[in-house]
C-alpha cells in the first residue's frame, strides 16, 4: 500500500526528516510514534500530498506522490494536526462539501455523509454550526472528513490531541472501528493510545526511523521482557525471595504490611507468579502487567539516540 524509500524533507537548512524508509501493507493499522518535533507531521504531510519531499520516493497504491499526486489524492483521506474546518458551515454541509471535493457524486453524497457521521458518532450534531462545537466534536468532524469518501488510506495526524480521557477512549474506538475497511496511519506522542489500537508501530526520533515492529517485537529487540506489578500482604523479604526466580525484583513501597513490587518478567508468567505467591503463604492483593512497557521501550530508544547524537 505504501512504500517509502529514502524520504528526506528539508525546511531551509534544517532537515525535518532524513532518509526514512518503511513499507505498510493493505489493511494494516500503523502507529506513528515520536516526540513533538520528531518529524511525524512532516512525514504525514508528504504522504497526504500537502508537502513535496526534498528527495526520496513515496509510492502509495502504485502511484508516486510527486509525479502522480492527483491519483494519490483520490485514494487518501488526511486529517492534519489542526482539523481543517470551516466555522460557518454546519457539520452536514461541511462533510457533503468535502465528499464532493474528493469526487463523491452528488447522488451518493447524502448516504456517505450519513455513514461517516455514524462511524464517528456525529449524528446528533448534523445540523449544528461547526463554530459551536466542542473540541472533542471538532476532532471527530476532522476524522469524519478524512473518511467520508471511503479512501483506501487514512492518514490521521494526532487525532486524540487535546481530548479528555473519555473522548480519547471514544476516539480509540472510532479508530479501531476503521480497521479492515481502510489502511490507517495514525500518529501520536501518547503511547498507550497507540499500543492499544495499532498492529504495528513506527518510532521516529529527530527525523529518523529508530525502530519498527509490533509491540512484542520491539520489546524483544530491546531485550526487555516486560514487567509484572503486584501487591502482597506479608513479609517483604519472603516476597522478594519468592519472586526472584522470575526475574529482578524491585520493591516500590512498603506500608502497613503491604508490599508493592515490580518483577522484570514477561506478563505471560502471571499465573505462575500468582501460584508462587499464594504457595509461599503470602496474601496476593493485586497482580498486573506493567503499564509502562511500551513507554520504557520508547524512552530507551529516544534516549539512546540522544546520547549518541
Amino acid at each position: 500500500m505504501i512504500q517509502v524509500e529514502g524520504l528526506t524533507k528539508y525546511y531551509g537548512e534544517h532537515a525535518a526528516i532524513r532518509d526514512l524508509a518503511f513499507t505498510i501493507s493493505q489493511g494494516e493499522v500503523i502507529g506513528f510514534l515520536g516526540l513533538n518535533g520528531a518529524g511525524k507531521s512532516t512525514t504525514l504531510k508528504v504522504l497526504g500530498c500537502v508537502l513535496l519531499p526534498t528527495s526520496g520516493r513515496v509510492v502509495i497504491d502504485g502511484h508516486d506522490v510527486v509525479s502522480n499526486a492527483h491519483e494519490v489524492r483520490q485514494r487518501i483521506g488526511y486529517l492534519p494536526d489542526v482539523p481543517p474546518l470551516y466555522e460557518e458551515m454546519t457539520v452536514g454541509e461541511y462533510l457533503a462539501y468535502v465528499a464532493q471535493l474528493r469526487g463523491v457524486t452528488s447522488r451518493d453524497t447524502a448516504s456517505r455523509v450519513g455513514e461517516a457521521e455514524e462511524k464517528t458518532g456525529l449524528r446528533d450534531v448534523h445540523g449544528e454550526l461547526i463554530s459551536t462545537l466542542s473540541h472533542g466534536y471538532r476532532q471527530r468532524v476532522g476524522v469524519a472528513q478524512a473518511l467520508v469518501h471511503k479512501p483506501a488510506l487514512l492518514i490521521l495526524d494526532e487525532p486524540t490531541s487535546g481530548l479528555d480521557p473519555r473522548q480519547i477512549v471514544e476516539m480509540r474506538d472510532v479508530i479501531r472501528g476503521l480497521k479492515g475497511a481502510h489502511t490507517v496511519l495514525v500518529s501520536s506522542h501518547i503511547l498507550p493510545e497507540i499500543s492499544q489500537t495499532c498492529d504495528r508501530l513506527l518510532i521516529i526520533h529527530k527525523g529518523m526511523l529508530v525502530a519498527q515492529g509490533t509491540e512484542e517485537e520491539l520489546a524483544a529487540k530491546m531485550g526487555g521482557r516486560g514487567t509484572i506489578e503486584l501487591e502482597v500482604r506479608g513479609d517483604k523479604a519472603r516476597a522478594v525471595e519468592v519472586l526472584q526466580r522470575f526475574g529482578a525484583v524491585e520493591v516500590d513501597r512498603v506500608s502497613d504490611g503491604l508490599v508493592a513490587l515490580t518483577v522484570r518478567a514477561s506478563p505471560d508468567q502471571r499465573p505462575l507468579v500468582a501460584q508462587a505467591v499464594v504457595g509461599a503463604g503470602l496474601e496476593l492483593l493485586r497482580l498486573d502487567q506493567g503499564a509502562g512497557q511500551l513507554e520504557s521501550i520508547f524512552l530507551r530508544l529516544t534516549h539512546g539516540q540522544e546520547a549518541r547524537a
Binding site: 500530498c49 474546518l85 470551516y86 471535493l101 474528493r102
Partner: protein, 240 residues
C-alpha cells in the same frame, strides 16, 4: 467543475459572515456620498455627464472593494489550516485559485448590483441611454476582475488577511500609478507604461459608454496573469 464547488462554498461563506456585508455596506455608503456630493452636486450638468462622473467614482470604489473582498480568499484558508484540506484533495491548484476568484467576482457583482440605484436616480430626472449604463458596468466588472485577480495573488502570497490586503493594495496602486511614470519617461517607454496602467488609458472609454476591444483584452490579460501567478505561488508552497 471542482472550481465551481469551491466558488459556491466561498460565496456562501461571504453571505453568512458579517464581514462581507460590512465591506459592501461601508463602500456602498461612501460611493453614495461621493455620488451625491460630486456627481449630482455643483453646477447643473447633462445626464450623460453625471453618469460618467458616477462611473468615475465607482471605478475607484470598485478597486477598493476588490482589495477587501479578495484579502480573505487564500490567506484565510492558510491561517485556519483549511488549505491542507484543499491540498490533500484531488484538485488542481488552478481549480483552487479559479474557484476562489469566481466567488470574489460573484460577490463583487453583488456589490455592483447594489449601486444600480444611482444610475436609476439619474434616469428619473434626466435621460440616459441604456447602452451607456451597460458599457459602464461592463467596465466596472472588468476593472474589478483585474483588481480581484491581483488581490487573489496578494492573498496567496500573504500569511494573513491584513498582509494580503496591504500587499494587494500596494500592487494595485503601483499598477495605477504607472501613468505617472509614463509622463516622465521617453518614448517608447512612455507608451508602454501608459498602456500598463490599470486605469489611466483603459477605463475612461467605459466611463463615456465606449467599449474598445483593446481595453477589454487588457483587463482580461491582467486577470489571467495575476491568477496564473497565484496558482504558481500555491504550487511553490508545497515545496516550501
Amino acid at each position: 467543475m471542482k472550481a465551481l464547488l469551491i466558488a459556491r462554498r466561498e460565496l456562501s461563506a461571504y453571505l453568512r459572515t458579517l464581514s462581507g456585508y460590512v465591506i459592501i455596506a461601508v463602500i456602498l455608503a461612501l460611493n453614495g456620498l461621493f455620488f451625491n456630493a460630486y456627481a449630482l452636486g455643483g453646477a447643473s450638468k447633462r445626464s450623460a455627464e453625471v453618469l460618467s462622473q458616477f462611473f468615475y467614482y465607482s471605478s475607484g470604489f470598485t478597486v477598493v472593494a476588490s482589495v477587501f473582498i479578495s484579502m480573505r480568499l487564500l490567506a484565510e484558508e492558510r491561517q485556519t489550516g483549511t488549505l491542507s484540506l484543499l491540498y490533500s484533495s484531488p484538485l488542481r491548484d488552478r481549480d483552487i485559485v479559479l474557484g476562489k476568484f469566481l466567488a470574489g467576482l460573484a460577490f463583487l457583482a453583488l456589490y455592483l448590483l447594489c449601486t444600480v440605484y444611482m444610475p436609476l436616480l439619474v434616469m428619473v430626472n434626466g435621460k440616459v441611454s441604456f447602452g451607456h449604463v451597460a458599457a459602464g458596468y461592463f467596465g466596472l466588472l472588468l476593472l474589478g476582475s483585474a483588481s480581484l485577480a491581483v488581490g487573489t495573488f496578494g492573498s496567496a502570497l500573504a500569511r494573513n488577511q491584513l498582509l494580503a490586503a496591504i500587499t494587494s493594495a500596494v500592487m494595485l496602486v503601483a499598477l495605477i500609478l504607472c501613468w505617472l511614470l509614463a509622463r516622465i519617461t521617453e518614448q517608447p517607454l512612455a507608451d508602454v507604461f501608459s498602456a500598463m496602467s490599470l486605469w489611466n488609458q483603459h477605463f475612461p472609454p467605459f466611463q463615456a459608454g465606449l467599449i474598445h476591444v483593446r481595453d477589454v483584452v487588457y483587463y482580461l490579460v491582467v486577470t489571467y496573469v495575476a491568477l496564473f501567478a497565484a496558482t504558481r505561488v500555491l504550487e511553490a508552497r508545497r515545496w516550501r
